[in-house]
Every structure is written in structure tokens, then in C-alpha cells.
Amino acid sequence: MHNNRVFKRTVLALAVSMAFPVSSAIAQEDVAELISPNVAEAGVKLQYLDDVNPLYRQYNGINDDGVNASADVKIIQRSDAGRWLRIEGRDLGLRTQEFGASLEQQGDWKVGIDYNQIPRFAPFVVFTPVTGIGHDTLNLGTRIDDKDLKTERTATSLTATKFISKNLQANVTFKNEDKKGERLFGSNGNVGGFLGQLFTPEPIDSNHKQIEASIDYATEKFYVSGGYYGSFFENKAGKGLFVNYGTTGGAGNPVAVQGSPTQMSPLSLAPDNQAHQFHIAGGYNWSRDTRANLKISKTFATQDDSFLPNSARVPYYAGMKRSDLGGKVDTTNVFGSLTSRVTDKLNLLASWAYEDRDDRTPQVDYLVDVGHGGAILQNNPESQKTHRGKFEASYRLPRGFNLTAGYDYDFKKYEGMDELFRDEITENTYRVDVRKSLGDTVNGSLMFAHSERDGSSWGTTPNLVNDGTHAVGLHWTAPTQFSDRERDKLKLMVDWMPIDPLSVQFAYEYALDDYKTRIFDMGLNEGRSELFSLDASYRFNDRWKANMWYSHSTNDIEQNSLNSTFGSLCNGTSVRNTCVPWGADLELSSNAFGAGFDGQISSKLSVGGQYLYSRDVNKYDISYADEGAFASPRVGPGFSSIRQGAGILPDTEYTLNTLRLFAKYAVTKATAIRLDYVWDRRELDDYTWSSWTYSDGTKVLVNPDQITRVIAVTLSHAF
């Protein structure tokens, strides 16, 4: 805003325009350009990659080094009658290409279509003799070839919206998505004491259709809506993956031999499934300050894809007569909320969400668990009920401060799950936060929350002796989501604007999870996380601005287990019966830094750049117990059940360095040239695939130091 309103610039412009009529026309043209959304522009991009690296290409879609061409197009037209036409294409010609078009009469109706491709290349290269990759039958060849595993999603969406009246709106969205390719899967070939892992990539060929329709009547006072959501998944890759290699029998032979299928063949593939959801919802403003919402939905999901037929490789249990699972899950969701500004200063919220997932799949006998006592086992439908409640009160304090106190209630009830677990889990959270969010140089918030989680009694008692059926160590661990837990969280955020162009932000977060174990500190004991971050942005003038940020975080997990062997008595009487308690302290330390700038050197030349650094270091500190009720650890030849080479894991480290620079030059008012440069370096030091060879000879290679350079030229023109 100018300081002296006597000299309003519009008046001056008017005066100038009176003196110089031509300048008036120019001014009007400028204004028209400022307020018109109409755009018609196209661009052609040529980018040269010096090297395609697995980590860089993961989602970028470019898997060929050298020159890759693509085009962008953007057309937006708005008529005086308020009719919009939008056509937009990005990365046309690349695997990441997407295209959208819509026609809209604003405030009345809209129709649109969108097409989107999302590729994903595995971040490694595979060298394998396995053939048939991408299909439902795998064989073992003799020649080792390199292979890129990838999947690609191709989605087309149609949308339509119509205001039937001022308050009544109908929406329909239909999305058709195909996903094709292959991904790392794996299977086991087990013979003669060898546990051989086989490279068995899963074929991906699926179609997912989703349709969502709703009708919504809304006024300032209330709204009601109803809708339908349908999901239809079809797996066209088949019902099973046949692995025609694997075990041979007899010592001295390699595990994988063509024509001798692994015992796991065929591996089951994901079955087709369908879901239909219906919902009704409504909200009512009791007054200007009090609002209530309610939503009820019911979902009917089925999975009745036919099974792999009964055969020598898929032997049905004699009493099992089904040809499909007959899976049926009905889910009911209810959500209600009430918000009210009781006084100018006091604001209340109460909300409740309920979910009843009722797995109504018929239970029949499927198998005899020979390895574990010969029990006849059925399928295991899993039902659960969940309640999430929230109550919160906010009170406005003087000087722009606000105090909020809240209580969260989480309750889960499980039905039909494994008897190891609990029937009910309850978590109560108490939290308080203070914030200041009214214009000043310093704003911010401080939040503290404390949670306590516990549950009903366990369905079993820990097994301390081997009774011939149940091994020592059974029922010792409290699975993470079932265990008692105390959680504390602290969050601090400060926004500081010491001078107008400078903005600084500081954030600190701390969380501590303390798990109560069932016995002997087995399982997850403790989790800690801490985050510190600092952001700053500076606007030098209307043409130049810059920003930078840094964050540091750590995550620690402490957990314990017991090294054992199959059927061990854990009484220390022999190697087989020696069990050794051990613990792991898992630490992740992350540092990330970013900086960027944008500027205009002249009215024709603009430049910008970004630099991103990110480094994550995982440490795995494993320690054996020196003593314990169940072991006299005598690590070494002939005395211990600890497997040779166990307990020493190297750190894993990932470092990302990316520099992006651009310069854009306006050749004319309509034509521009843009130059982009990317330097991307990713270093991965990870033991996952290091010195690893599948039993069929397949190796997975991850280049530990990957540098990609990209130079791109884009020519764009506005019509």
C-alpha cells in the first residue's frame, strides 16, 4: 500500500493515459493479462542422462541413458459465461506421462478425464538364470541374464459433478487402474537340511476398478449426503505361481534344479475381491457456534475367487469340500462429532468413531498341522470392534494464547484371533497444549501427551518347559499392538519473524514408548524418537528469495529375544537344548539439509536452484546375555545353539545428494527456453544384498555409489 494516498497510482495512470492514449491501451492489455486465466502453451523437453541408476530411476520412469524427449501441454480457457476448458499433459512420451481434460460450467456442472502412469523400477539389478519372469510359471535356465524388475500402474479416471440445484450436488468418479510387471517375492526350497531361498519374482497383472458416487444437499444450516463406493479387484496373473525348480534331495547337490519344483510350488497369488460401501451422513448447525456431524457407513466385502484345484501339489484336506473361501466381511462404521463454542473463550469438541469389522467367512477344516501336534486347523476369520473417542476443551487466554486440554480413548475388541492374544485393548491419552497464533513476531505451540495402554488378560500362559507339543518360548512375547504401553510425547514449534522478509521456524519433537513385556523382557521393550528442525526463509526483494532448512532425528528401539532351535528344551543339557537370551538396540540417526533460491536477473531471465542432502544411518547393536534362567551361553564350537556368524551386523547407511539448477530465458513474450541441470548422488551401504546369492544362482546387485547427471533443455511457447 502506498504511503501517500493523494497520489493514487490509478489516478496517475489515468492522467498519463489521458496524455498518452496509446499507453492506456497498453495498460488495459496488461490488466487483461493479469486477470485472465486463459493459457495455451506447449513445451518440448529434451533431457540427457549420462547414466541411469537404480535408485534415481525408481519413480522417474526413465530407464534409458542418453537423450529422452517429452512434451508438456497446458490449455486453460474461460469464457465470459464462466465455462472452463482445461487440458493438461505432463511428461508426454515418458513412462510418467499424465494427461487431464475437463469441461466445467462453474457452479453448475463439470466433467473430466484423467490418465496417469506411475512406473516403479526396483532399486537394484538382478542377474538370474530364472526364466518366465512376469508369468505364472518359472523355470531355471542355464544362461544368466540381467533383469530389471518393474511395475507400472496405468490409471484412467472419469469424474462428473452436477449442481442439481443451488444446494443439491451430485458427484460420480470412476477409476480404472491396471498394474503390470513383476516384483521380488521369493520362496523356499528345503531339502536335506538346506534351507535354500529361491528367486521367484511374483507376476503382477491386475485390474482395479473403483466407483464412487454421492449426492449431497447442503445449506448453511445443515447437510445430508448419501453415497456408494465400490471396489473391484481382479488378479489376471493367475491363482498360483508355479516354480519348476528347487529341491533335489541328496547331499552334495545344489538346492535348485530345474524340473524339481520346490515344495512350496505353487505359491498362492492374491485372489480377486470386491467391496461395496454405502453411507449416509449429515450435519446440523444448532447455532452459529454449535455443530453436530454424523456418518454411518456399511461395507460388504467378498472374496470368493476359486481355489487352485485339488492336486498332488495342492492336496486338499479330505474333509474340505469348498472350491473357494467364501470370504465375507461386513464392516460398519459410525462417526459422530459435536463442536461448540460455549463462550467467546471456551470451545468444546466431542467425537466418537466406531468400527465393527465382522468377518463372516465360513470356517471349515483346511489342514492337519503335522509339524505341531497334528491338530486339524481351520481358516481364521478375524473380527474386531474399534472405538475411538475424543474430548477436548480449548480456552482462549489473554495476549493471544490458547490452552487446550484433551482426552482420547481407544478401545479394540478382537474376536476369532489367535488364542495367544488378548480380547481387548484400551488406550487412554491425556494431552495439553498451549499455542499462540495471533499476529506477532513470535508464535508457536507446545504440546504434551501421555498415553497408557493395557488390555484384558492373555489367552495363554508362557511355556517354560517343553511338554512334547509346545516348545519353550511359546507365549512369551507380547505382540507390539497387544502389549501394555506407556507413551509420552512432546512437541514444540516456534515461528519467529524478526523482520518482515525473514521467517524462522524451530521445531522439536520427543516421544518415548515404554512397553511392558510378558515375561523375561521378551519382545519390544522401549522406543524413543527425537526430532529437531530449523527452517529459515528470506525475501531479499520482490525478485529474489531463498530458504534453507535442517533437521536431525534419532529413533531407538530396544528389544529382546531368545535364540533357540526347533523343539529345544532350553535346559542347557545339550547344544540343541541351549537357548541364549539376547537383545538388540536398533538406532536410526538421520540428518537432512535443504536449501533453495529463486530469482529474476532481469525481466527476461530467471534462475533458481535447490540442494538436498539426506543421510540415514542404522546401527544394530546386538548383545548376548551372560546368564539367565535358560542358558549357560557357551558360544563356540560344540557348545552353543547360536548359529555361526550371528550377532554382528554392519551399519547400513544411505546418503542422498541432489542439486537442481535452472535458468529460464524469455526469448519473446510468448517463447521461452529453460535449461535444467540435475546432479544426483545416492550412496547405499546396506547388507541386504551384500554377498547374497539365491540358491538358484540369482544375484541382486545394488551399486553402492550411484551418480546421475541430467541436462535438459525445454522450449516452450504460448499461443
Binding site: 489521458m18 448453511e220 510350488s265 505341531h372 519382545g523 528401539i557 547374497w692
Partner: protein, 334 residues
């Protein structure tokens, strides 16, 4: 500055004389014309293309579509602001009744009320009241820029930048090697979250975590012959969808992740180890094996640690639909 003003004043006089304006002094003064919105002359007579071009950019947006009778004018959002408009002093005038900048003195609820007076009837904003962002005093203008055609938060390539202004942990996580394609601009935070309020946890677009994940990963919906309890309950039991160092966005890599739930009986408590530290030619007793040892054999820990870890054998970890009379199907091997 003073020289410029003087020059402009002279120029104005010349212009007026040349156009004969001085002879029309008694003629009724022409009211300023609206530029973009109906009634915007009250503001644009000062805030014109020379003063603040960005103000006029609202003409490029849906708010600036006059043909739609619902679109607002400046004062619908900023208030009548009479003190601001009629100020005669030479210094800065008082601010408009409602402002939306970062240092605004307008209470957030009042700022948002200006938007909600129209947008509360939008189906995706029905649950704004009571949502986490509403309760934490997040202003609509904290994320949205209503005066530009290119609102960063509505473009999936730039949206995450806006969200990361507060969600710092996620900013670091998306740059880890296993992540959803958010940095690459192929996914946006709003594909999974509706920041305007939902019935689900964590502002997820569907009623539950799993229902949200199934919109893209429908093959995991099941139910299966053999269900895996934590999978059925909540995908986030094992995955961090914002990004991890471990493959497949697993919160912790196997076998550690699996050992957080599974009993140590039998081989489940095996201490991890890698091939580089293992004498692959020897048994646990230090004796040479009778046959060429496969590095990931049953005599060492490599098979549960490297490659996919436990999932090397328990391939069907999301649930197996194998009807076979086989214990291995029950345990997700086939």
C-alpha cells in the same frame, strides 16, 4: 521518491490539461470501475496493477469468475474495512478488517469463517469443524493462496512442500530410499489424507488405515484362508508409508520387526547374521560341511537376515489363500 511524485504530479496536470479535464471540473466525477469482481472498485482503485499485481491475479481463479453468481467480492473476505478505505493520513492506513497474512491479527477462526461461509457446504469440508487442523488453529490461508491460479497446495508436484512446513518428520522420511513417489510428484499427501477433516484416524480419506491403503493396494484386502492378524488390523503396524531405509517401507527390517511380535520358540528368535561375517563352509560346530554349503542354509543366520529376511520363506506375509493341506500354507510359506 519526492522527485518521482513531483514528476507524476506534473505529468498528471499535463495530462489533464491536454485532455481538457480542467474544463470538466464541474462534471460529475466518474466512479471507479470494477476490474475483476463485482464491487471490487472499492479496493482496486488503489490496489491496481501498479500497486499490487498479485491482488488482481484473483481474476485468474475460480473466485474471479464473475459469471458464477456465487463468487465473492473483496469485502466478503476482507470485510468492509471502512477505516482502511477512508483513511486520510499520510502514513500507513489501518489494516483491513480481516487479513490473511502470516502476521495477521485476525483470529484464525474469523479468517476461516470467511472461507467457510461458502465452503462449508462443500462435501469435502463438512467435517472441518472438529478436525485436527481446525482445532490446532490452522488457517485456510496457511496452506492456500487464493489470489493465484497456481495454488501450490493444489498441485501434487508442490503440495508436499506446503505440508512439510509443519510436518518436519515426514519431510525427512520421504527422502529415504523406500518411499511413495511424493518427491517425484506422482503422489500427493492428499491422496491419503484429507486435511479438511475425515472420519478416519490421522485425517485419512477413508474410515480406517486399511480402507485407505486398499484404494491402491486392493490385493491386500482379502480375506484369506490364512489371515495374518496385524495385517488385517492395521497396515501401519508394520509399514511407515512416509518412507523408510528398510525395503517395502517396513518400520524395522526383518527379522527384528517380526521378533517384536513373535515368540522366540523354535527358530523365531534366531540372532541375525550376515554372510560377510559367516564362515559359510562350516557348521555351527565349526566342522566342514559334508556338502557345498549354500550361504543361506539352515546352519547360519543369513537366511533370516539378508534379502527379504523372514519373508524369504514366509512369502505370503499379507495372507495366504492356499487351500492346501499343508502347515507351510498356514505359516505363509505358500
Amino acid at each position: 521518491m519526492r522527485k518521482i511524485r513531483s514528476l507524476l504530479a506534473v505529468l498528471a496536470c499535463i495530462g489533464s490539461v491536454c485532455s481538457g479535464a480542467v474544463f470538466a471540473a464541474d462534471a460529475p466525477k466518474e466512479a471507479p470501475k470494477d476490474i475483476v469482481l463485482a464491487g471490487d472498485a472499492k479496493c482496486t482503485s488503489c490496489h491496481d496493477e501498479a500497486d499490487a499485481p498479485g491482488v488482481l491475479h484473483i481474476g485468474k481463479t475460480k473466485h474471479g469468475t464473475r459469471a458464477d453468481g456465487r463468487t465473492p467480492t473483496c469485502t466478503d473476505c476482507h470485510g468492509d474495512s471502512d477505516k482502511h478505505v477512508t483513511y486520510k493520513g499520510s502514513d500507513k492506513p489501518p489494516k483491513p478488517d480481516r487479513t490473511f497474512d502470516k502476521q495477521s491479527a485476525t483470529p484464525v477462526a474469523e479468517r476461516n469463517a470467511a472461507c467457510l461461509s461458502c465452503h462449508q457446504t462443500d462435501p469435502k469440508r463438512h467435517l472441518w469443524a472438529g478436525s485436527t487442523h481446525e482445532r490446532r488453529d490452522v488457517a485456510c490461508s496457511s496452506c492456500h493462496d487464493t489470489h493465484t491460479a497456481d495454488d501450490k497446495v493444489r498441485d501434487k508436484r508442490t503440495q508436499a512442500e506446503v505440508c512439510f512446513a509443519c510436518h518436519k518428520e515426514q519431510r525427512a522420511q520421504v527422502n529415504r530410499p523406500s518411499h511413495h513417489p511424493i518427491p517425484e510428484g506422482k503422489m500427493a499427501c492428499s491422496d491419503c489424507h484429507n486435511p479438511h477433516g475425515t472420519t478416519g484416524p490421522k485425517l485419512l480419506v477413508k474410515d480406517s488405515t486399511n480402507a485407505t491403503c486398499y484404494t491402491c493396494h486392493a490385493e491386500k484386502r482379502g480375506p484369506f484362508v490364512h489371515n495374518h492378524a496385524p495385517v488385517t488390523e492395521d497396515c501401519a503396524n508394520c509399514h511407515n508409508p512416509h518412507g523408510t531405509v528398510a525395503d517395502a517401507m517396513l518400520k524395522t527390517r526383518p527379522p527384528f520387526l517380526c521378533q517384536q511380535c513373535h515368540d522366540p520358540a523354535n527358530h523365531l528368535g534366531t540372532i541375525p547374521g550376515v554372510a560377510a561375517n559367516t564362515d559359510l563352509s562350516r557348521t555351527v560346530n565349526g566342522l566342514a560341511t559334508g556338502s557345498p554349503a549354500v550361504q543361506n542354509n539352515g546352519l547360519n543366520s543369513v537366511g533370516v537376515t539378508q534379502a527379504r529376511g523372514c519373508l524369504n520363506c514366509h512369502t505370503e506375509i499379507h495372507g495366504s489363500n492356499s487351500p492346501a493341506n499343508a502347515s507351510k500354507a498356514l505359516r505363509f510359506w505358500r
